[in-house]
């Protein structure tokens, strides 16, 4: 056994030498979002166009490479504007690029060094065109720490990861640090689990480390099931080696020699990229039987989930890896005591693990300099729903919702997609386990404790913004439907309780509720929380209880007046034509499938509510917005 260190520096030097002959680099976003918008076609077109223009093209870095290097990256976060094309060293970011734009990019930018103005991002507030990530507000107001390299490096090229300093932290951990030192470093940094719980990572590791010697496991939780969250997917797709490096360090810390990366089945690209990354790391001796030429062995494998939300819960995930139905077990014993195959097991979330190498490399103090006292570091949020720039962002803990929604995400959009900041109604944080925050919480600095206090939770970081056209009872019902569907059925209160809660919500939405319904809903919600074993049931009533607390008037309107203030609940809608707007154009009358609209040409029409089937066609066809459902 040689004690010579594995030559990361040699790989680094070789990469830089190969890259030194390049004149420019084009990075095309190949995250799920941009691929869906056709970024791979743009990639092919670019390669073809550069070659056709007689310019030197490098697709795969080799000795003597030169000219323009065209590569694909993981998600760059700005999904709404995809496909995204970055050009270095000019630092230009082109948005919504289609294959037809490619010849102009090659001629203008590559050959002549000019910017194609029409492909630049235009700031909707003020109409200014932004040249690149350093002047687009979406990027400048973020602090990309975990996501820093996502969207720049080629996720399928291990040499590029190493060239950027990758795997040095894992080597340091394996060769120069003890398990105890690593746990202490995490405790000093104050890293807390990014999967939702916020449990201190160092403490978790230390508990597993202190278990008697013997087989131990490390599991990466990539079963990102919360609807509305996709940060883990982006990290696995965009920077898979950072997750592996985090797992090596975690394995070293607790004394594990084996691990699993449990990836959700809905993420085929993440599965493929993680598998490729594992293979590459193995072939370089970073994983395997002599990690970094030490005496330690560490083996990892990818386990693909099969579509069960509850498997994101630690004990259910363990059951699933063991080949069983993913049903949770009572805790204690905790997985750090008795986990996979009854052995001590640490389960960490993707984003947590991806933070680990950065902490080891940069030190705990640097990590603590970001975020708040009790929640140091940064957090990624998937900002979606009614905002101008949906996408993936990363900010230090302590950032306010106002900054996120109005500055980074570019403001709230109305149903017609125009920016209307006064249309803000609520933001739902933490998915089916979380709650809603309203206008008055906008200046709350986001961190684990503040959010808990405000009745929401960080959860996995899904942040769904809703405008005034969104019915909060409908949203509560949406989440209830989700948890009811995903309840594994083990605990009676979760299985039957969520079903009953869903039925009660249907009563409210369909106009059958009476004065007892809301009280019953609240009581039942509290019972489900108490009587469930795992996080799914314990948090399932949160969206309902939170909307009940924040929007009592909206519930009361549904129950007492059988009226939905937003007009979204079809069963309660009473369509009506506003005579002051109706010009009697006959369009709605013609389109109504049941002939419920009457009136002469040129005179305001009327809807006969007894015949109306509430299909909504009339609202859709009316050009004068003269028909209302509210």
């Amino acid at each position: 056994m040689t004690t010579e260190k594995l030559g990361l520096e040699a790989i680094q030097a070789a990469y830089h030498k190969k890259a030194s002959g390049l004149t420019s680099r084009i990075i095309i976003c190949a995250g799920t979002g941009c691929v869906a918008n056709g970024s791979l076609k743009v990639y092919d077109a670019l390669c073809a166009a550069i070659a056709a223009a007689g310019l030197e093209l490098t697709v795969e870095l080799k000795e003597e490479s030169g000219g323009t290097h065209v590569s694909r990256s993981g998600c760059q976060g700005f999904c709404q504007m995809g496909p995204l094309v970055t050009i270095l060293p000019h630092s230009i970011l082109y948005t919504k690029v289609q294959p037809g734009d490619v010849p102009e990019i090659v001629e203008e930018t590559l050959r002549a060094g000019r910017v194609v103005e029409r492909l630049l991002y235009e700031n909707p507030a003020g109409g200014r065109r932004c040249r690149g990530t350093d002047d687009i507000p979406f990027y400048t107001r973020q602090h990309r720490y975990v996501l820093k390299k996502c969207g720049i490096i080629d996720p399928e090229d291990i040499a590029e990861y190493i060239a950027g300093g990758g795997y040095a932290a894992a080597r340091k951990a394996v060769l120069d640090m003890t398990g105890e030192q690593l746990c202490l470093e995490m405790l000093d940094a104050g890293l807390r689990g990014r999967g939702g719980g916020g449990f201190p990572t160092g403490m978790k590791w230390d508990m597993a480390r202190k278990q008697p010697e013997g087989k131990k496991y490390i599991i990466c939780n990539g079963d990102e099931g919360d609807p509305g969250a996709f940060m883990d997917r982006s990290v696995m797709e965009g920077n898979p080696h950072s997750v592996i490096e985090g797992m090596i360090i975690a394995g070293r810390a607790i004394g594990a020699d084996e691990g699993y990366i449990y990836v959700r089945a809905e993420y085929p690209l993440a599965v493929r990229r993680m598998r490729k990354a594992l293979e590459d790391a193995r072939s370089l001796g970073i994983l395997g039987d002599a990690v970094f030429r030490s005496q330690l062995s560490f083996n990892l494998q990818v386990m693909e989930g099969a579509g069960a939300f509850v498997c994101g819960e630690e004990t259910a995930m363990i059951a699933s890896i063991q080949g069983s139905r993913g049903m949770p077990m009572p805790k204690p014993p905790f997985p750090v005591q008795s986990g996979l195959w009854g052995r001590p097991t640490v389960i960490n979330n993707v984003e947590t693990l991806a933070s680990v190498p950065l902490i080891i490399a940069g030190g705990a103090a640097a990590f603590r300099s970001m975020g708040t006292k009790n929640s140091p570091g940064t957090k990624t949020f998937a900002v979606t729903g009614h905002v101008a720039n949906t996408g993936l962002i990363e900010v230090p803990f302590g950032t306010t919702l106002r900054e996120i929604i109005f500055d980074i995400a570019g403001g709230v959009t109305a149903d017609d997609e125009t920016i209307r900041n006064d249309a803000f109604k609520a933001v739902q944080i933490g998915g089916p386990s979380g709650g809603c925050l309203t206008e008055k919480d906008l200046d709350l600095p986001l961190d684990f404790d503040n959010l808990q206090f405000a009745g929401a939770m960080v959860g996995s970081g899904g942040l769904v913004v809703m405008n005034s056209g969104t019915c909060m009872v409908g949203i509560a019902r949406f989440f209830m439907q989700f948890t009811q569907n995903e309840s594994c059925g083990k605990c009676v209160l979760c299985r039957e309780g969520t079903r009953q809660m869903l039925d009660l919500l249907d009563d409210i939405i369909e106009g059958r509720a009476d004065s007892s319904t809301l009280g019953l809903l609240k009581d039942l919600g509290r019972c489900v929380k108490k009587g469930s074993l795992c996080g799914l049931g314990k948090t399932a009533p949160n969206p309902v209880l939170s909307t009940l607390a924040k929007f009592p008037d909206e519930y009361m309107a549904h129950v007492e007046q059988k009226y939905c203030p937003t007009g979204r609940c079809r069963a309660l809608v009473k369509f009506r034509i506003l005579p002051e707007y109706c010009k009697g154009c006959m369009l709605c009358k013609k389109k109504c499938p049941v002939g419920a609209i009457t009136g002469e040409k040129g005179a305001p029409h009327e809807i006969n509510l007894a015949t109306c089937i509430k299909c909504g066609v009339c609202i859709e066809v009316c050009r004068l917005k003269a028909i209302t459902g509210a």
């Binding site: 799920t32 979002g33 691929v35 869906a36 918008n37 999904c79 709404q80 995809g82 990102e224 099931g225 919360d226 609807p227 509305g228 969250a229 996709f230 997917r233 959700r264 089945a265 809905e266 993420y267 085929p268 386990m303 693909e304 989930g305 099969a306 579509g307 069960a308 939300f309 699933s320 890896i321 063991q322 080949g323 069983s324 139905r325 993913g326 998937a382 979606t384 729903g385 009614h386 949906t390 996408g391 993936l392 739902q428 998915g431 899904g462 769904v464 809703m466 969104t470 949203i475 949406f478 989440f479 989700f482 569907n485 995903e486 594994c488």
Partner: protein, 165 residues
């Protein structure tokens, strides 16, 4: 036993062997089987149980627990409309209604009688930036409207017609 069944059984054994005949590998085994047959035929589940030394009840239990496993054949094109939060608030229900209408799926059936299309909803595809989104087999389509979704179906139908001729 006819030739077809024998070939089928041999293939299943190959999958089981590849996974070391380990009961812990039940889920990856069922995934590989489903990839081959596009569903899990009942006799195959019994066969897998026997090969792994598990009770058929255990294998059926796993096969029915996870939403990705299906015991009935699915259409050639599996359309999954995302109904995650982001897609929901951007009115994915409109897509579902339009496609159910387009494919004439009534009474809760999910697959068209000609076995061409299966229409399902999925909790979240993680393509929230593109809401509302749907996946046709493995291809993600984002920022859809009911009209665009129907147009996609028309295109698939046209492709099928061309293949037939």
């Amino acid at each position: 036993m006819d030739k077809e069944s024998i070939r089928k059984f041999e293939y299943i054994f190959e999958i089981v062997e590849r996974n070391g005949r380990s009961p812990a590998r039940l889920i990856p085994i069922l995934q590989a089987v489903q990839e081959q047959y596009r569903y899990l035929p009942e006799e195959v589940l019994t066969l897998v149980a026997t090969a792994l030394g598990l009770s058929p009840a255990k294998v059926f239990g796993v096969a029915t627990f996870y939403s990705h496993f299906t015991l009935t054949p699915k259409g050639k094109y599996l359309i999954r409309i995302c109904d995650g939060t982001a897609c929901h608030v951007k009115r994915s229900d409109g897509l579902l209604a339009a496609l159910r209408e387009k494919l004439r799926l009534r009474d809760g059936s999910a697959t068209t009688p000609d076995m061409l299309f299966t229409l399902e909803t999925v909790s979240c595809l993680g393509a929230c930036g593109l809401a509302p989104a749907m996946v046709v087999n493995d291809e993600v389509h984002g920022q859809l409207t009911p009209e665009k979704a129907v147009a996609l179906i028309d295109e698939l139908l046209r492709k099928e017609d061309e293949n037939d001729n």
